[in-house]
Assembly symmetry: C3
Homo-oligomer: 316 residues x 3
């Protein structure tokens, strides 16, 4: 297995089974620090640079919290539009990275443009972690999700995954690459205009992923061990939540998980959602034994601890 020390985390394509398990084991060893609400001094010498060209408070804070729990410190920016115009938003990734690499010891980058973290990694003398690049990938989220499932199920093999959402999105890309490393049957459900793109299907075919596409959550819910969700509608961001009365009920029933839908589900099926949600996942489900999205949030910090400790070479 390749060492994680000094390595960039850019994509889950080509990420191997044993690399998942290595990160899971390290996560297990570090989890007590977060659970006991402590700070270790594992990374007390290290500085994390957050380079968020787009705001993503959840992803940014999960990385920051992870770094702080490991004793490290954080600097960076949370929205490139808030930087001096022409500063980071406008200039080349190469010029920016030749600054950022001196401000800390690992760079976590969210970028509106697919491939930007890859370009950054080409120039940086420190590891670059992709925190979401346009339509590209979102490897740290999916590592979190796989870790959550592994913790709940004890295995990733032999499971049926039901995936609901926009299949053109980065999280679904990373998840598809990840599933292909395990004995997982994937069922994709999305509105037609959000279905798997032909060129992406070629990729997952080449990886020998066992998958099918269905139209209605009811047609697949009975078999699912894992229900993996993302929104299929976008809120009207011009209105505050309280004014968005029209937003409620926007998700068509065939892409929605409700208490009624869950009555047809397996007793031990679990639901994951990285949030925020629209009405594709109703709050009435939150109190059931199926919901695992709060655990997913906790694991979001633990997995980032595992990643930071690994690429910074303090855990092997």
């Amino acid at each position: 297995m390749r060492s994680f020390a000094g390595r960039d985390i850019l994509s889950l394509k080509g990420f191997e089974r044993n690399e998942f398990f290595r990160l899971f084991e390290i996560a297990d060893r570090l989890a007590p620090i977060a659970r006991d609400r402590k700070r270790s001094d594992l990374l007390k010498d290290k500085t994390l640079v957050t380079a968020f060209y787009q705001p993503s408070t959840r992803t940014r804070l999960a990385h920051e919290a992870a770094m702080l729990r490991l004793g490290g410190v954080v600097t960076g920016f949370s929205d490139a539009k808030m930087t001096r115009a022409g500063d980071f938003y406008q200039e080349s990734i190469k010029d920016t990275v030749h600054m950022l690499e001196y401000y800390g010891d690992v760079i976590v980058m969210r970028h509106f443009k697919q491939g930007a973290p890859q370009e950054a990694a080409k120039w940086a003398s420190v590891p670059v972690i992709n925190a979401g690049d346009g339509w590209g990938e979102h490897p740290t989220q999916v590592l979190t999700d796989m870790y959550t499932i592994w913790k709940e199920k004890g295995t990733l093999d032999g499971l049926n995954f039901l995936l609901i959402g926009d299949m053109r999105m980065r999280t679904m890309h990373s998840m598809s690459y990840a599933m292909a490393q395990f004995d997982i049957n994937a069922t994709y459900i999305s509105p037609p205009e959000m279905s798997l793109l032909p060129e992406f299907k070629e990729e997952i075919d080449a990886l020998n992923l066992n998958y099918r596409e269905v139209d209605h959550v009811k047609d697949a819910i009975a078999d699912a061990d894992v229900i993996y969700m993302e929104p299929v509608v976008q809120p009207d961001y011009t209105k505050a939540r309280d004014e968005r009365s029209g937003d409620v009920g926007l998700t068509p029933a065939q892409y929605q998980v409700t208490l009624d839908v869950m009555k047809k589900a397996r007793q031990d099926s679990i639901i994951l959602h990285s949030l925020p949600r629209m009405d594709e996942l109703l709050p009435e489900v939150d109190g059931t034994r199926h919901a695992r999205y709060w655990e997913e949030a906790f694991n979001g910090v633990v997995m980032r601890m595992s990643l930071l400790a690994s690429v910074l070479g303090v855990m092997e």
Copy 2:
């Protein structure tokens, strides 16, 4: 007395006399750390999460500085509009809190909506501190103010408070609840459209607060031990300070504290203002023995140190 460990600080309604004094004592014990410009290691294991749905740099930085002085670390967001649309600004408090509680060990929340920190506290596994909720309350500011007065006067009982400002505002609400726990005579002065609301009067009547309302600062200045001020006019935020020539002189004389007004005040009266100010409090007063707003700023850090150390259970 109820323990502060693990407790939410949401409102000063029902806050008891001896609870004020407990926080004052802890503040006195922690103040030397801030005065000597040191960091202690009392909270070296702990992370503060700042959840500011509205910017409030003073309140946010006072909490951050307090956490840092105690050896802790900080993560969070300073303006929800800067987060990904739909991220924190749009989603339910429940969903957001089930993330934030994993990013740190205490949440300080400023929200544009009254009651939001209370809602957050319902779901959070960590203490929630209300840093101002809409028209609701601002308990940490008023604890700071009461501590400042107590330090200056040696007591809170037997004092006459003159309150000038918008009586519908959160700070005045928290201050009214606080005054009711002591032998304080309150005199409220505000423009008619900013006077105490009938339902709030019922509340402070029920608390047996001894108060009156007058029209002109000159009618009450001679008796005041404490002059507690807030703006009664709002600046035109669309213009930079230098362009706002028209803003100067906006505050009617009856709500204004000037050198001339202070000539009629008691020799030992003190002025508090949490700032920023318009022209209700003229800079010509800054150099007099009455001004205590800079001490208030220093105490703003010290009181937040006391609160953080208390709710995180390291000081009793």
Copy 3:
């Protein structure tokens, strides 16, 4: 020599030769911490307050990274427009500083208005570092640049500086004051509307700076030991980089440094640019032995370490 402990760093006017060298020496002693990617505990008791009334991510992060490398912590704001309107953007520097001085132990201020850090220093009980004030000065950048040149050349005396950019800008002001302390010949090149202002020429004449102004980089490149650059055109900030096709080729050839221009340059000449750049400095030059802008970026952290350690009195 005046001690640096407790001192404000506001301007390079009146900064003496031996003060430059003292900061260089301290920088040399601290550089290994940054180079080895460690944190020292020299400033573990100290908090830096960043007061950026305008965003400037590079300058802010260089200071933050420096503080973190020295074991200190950071709080502050990165754009006053993001603070509560009327909070810091609108109020007087005096009122703001009488808050900020309690939030930490040194204030680094960027302000859109010339003279603001000087005004802040008048009121602050802690050192104030000018991180750029309007058209005024940018002393920490130029200290970085002079340190970079000194490291590369072993001396600052007997060198020819070629300065290309907008001579009305703060960096050029600080650099001119700095050059006057050494045996440096300065050649300024700028578009006519960006040339040295008459009142500034009087200042550098009074400092006995040896300088000339020429029209075309080709007329001066052969003599230059140091080529010191800034943009002479501004990007169209309303467009994202990818859309700004029209921006390319905006800089007239006489203010541009290209591979072709560098063929006429001295073998050992070096190019400095604090970035970001437009097309005044072409990427084709990056791979040549002349480029020193990445070293400049690294030194930007090291020089800020030297400044923070010096004004906070832990290095003499």
